[in-house]
Symmetry: C2
Subunit: 268 residues, 2 copies
Amino acid sequence: MARHNNRHYAIGVFDSGLGGLTVVKELVRLLPHEDIVYFGDTARVPYGTKSKESIIRFSKENVGLLLKHKVKMIVLACNTSSSLALDVLKRTYGIPLIGVINPGAQKAVLVTKNKRIGVVATSATIYSQAYPKRIRELDRSIKVIAQACPLFVPLAEEGWFNKKVTEDIARTYLKNMIKNRIDALILGCTHYPLLKPVLRKVMGKKVFLVDSAEVVANEVKKRLVREDKLNPTHKKGYYKFLVSDRPQHFQELAKRFLGFDIKNVLRV
Amino acid sequence: MARHNNRHYAIGVFDSGLGGLTVVKELVRLLPHEDIVYFGDTARVPYGTKSKESIIRFSKENVGLLLKHKVKMIVLACNTSSSLALDVLKRTYGIPLIGVINPGAQKAVLVTKNKRIGVVATSATIYSQAYPKRIRELDRSIKVIAQACPLFVPLAEEGWFNKKVTEDIARTYLKNMIKNRIDALILGCTHYPLLKPVLRKVMGKKVFLVDSAEVVANEVKKRLVREDKLNPTHKKGYYKFLVSDRPQHFQELAKRFLGFDIKNVLRV
């Protein structure tokens, strides 16, 4: 049963910063008995404006770090890393690696009726074309409308969820989506679930919002079940948070993303 | 005359990214015969959200890099570095180092009549209290109102100078400044000169806008004159641009900051 000897290991999760905590929140909800080791690369955040070579180098270093912490699977809770580094990482490491692109693309293809899907994300994710490429692999007849939204991350971090300017900015970015009558919108950045209420308001109730955090957590569960790697314990999971810069800022903002307070954020 | 043998050397300038190009623009205008070597740490941008230890480490590495390029003076064209690292750098290196805080604070103290000065900057610069501290050293009776404006940098990089949302966001951030009837506003981030028209509109014509880029260029000129280090050539200066991430993005956006196109951006 050697292949099962790491069931008690944690799920490793990394992101460029805080955003991946929306994924942790969903993992905690869906898999309450799993331990989680999270690494936020807060010294080099954001990844969304940087080059492919830099993203690959940073992502390799992040995987290397998590591998030192007894993990059985690693989640790239970062759209930019998932777009630009997942394939290289899969060729380099033996551990199961899950990115956010494929689960998001699959969900959108599943829910769209009129075959018009929108994608909002950081500049780097949009520039990489990762979502349109994957969606067209799944169904060539689907039209994809993509839009980089560089102001969404700072708006989410400011906590300006109900401000009129946030709605105005969302209307500016989403104008083309509305004009093209999309019926599914992929929130292609882990910060964006925080802006769901305003995006729902701007897009209307008929547009399905595909939340990366939710779909990737579902994918993790499916994969753990399939590979018989679910943690057999009945105890509540243990969560460890690692960052590459000052833990204080991370700790302060974490509640907004996670829904609960955290302690013991370690700088590595 | 050994102390003069580096007159022909360049002025070194570094910033976390693109913003310092507003300083280069002013240097080019004021000192057309000087050579300039600029380093933008685009792989680690922004500095404004990171810890003091990280900023000091990054800044030392940046100075080390510029010292390999025959420079006679180094300008920290980054408010965050100037706030958190200048003192340490001065103790570590023999070369003249000029930050943006002191020139900005001096100018504001000079122009204020009602002794109420406002400062807008990144979170790290505001948190460091660098401007209020320096202003109070110059004149203890001055009241300083400080405000972090995390959305200004992405707004400037989006090029949304004339959009209504930009004005709305500026009104939100500056509300307290207006209420406190400041008569001088320090633009404490090298990106902010791009937002001058909207800041002027929101604050009104009676408030003096202290532009870091202008005041630091004046300080560089004064210092070069005082130390007899002006380049004696009559040729136009030569400009070299170094970055730590993909040159393409930097090159594309540079014109917005500099007012002229650049080529030969090198990745180091």
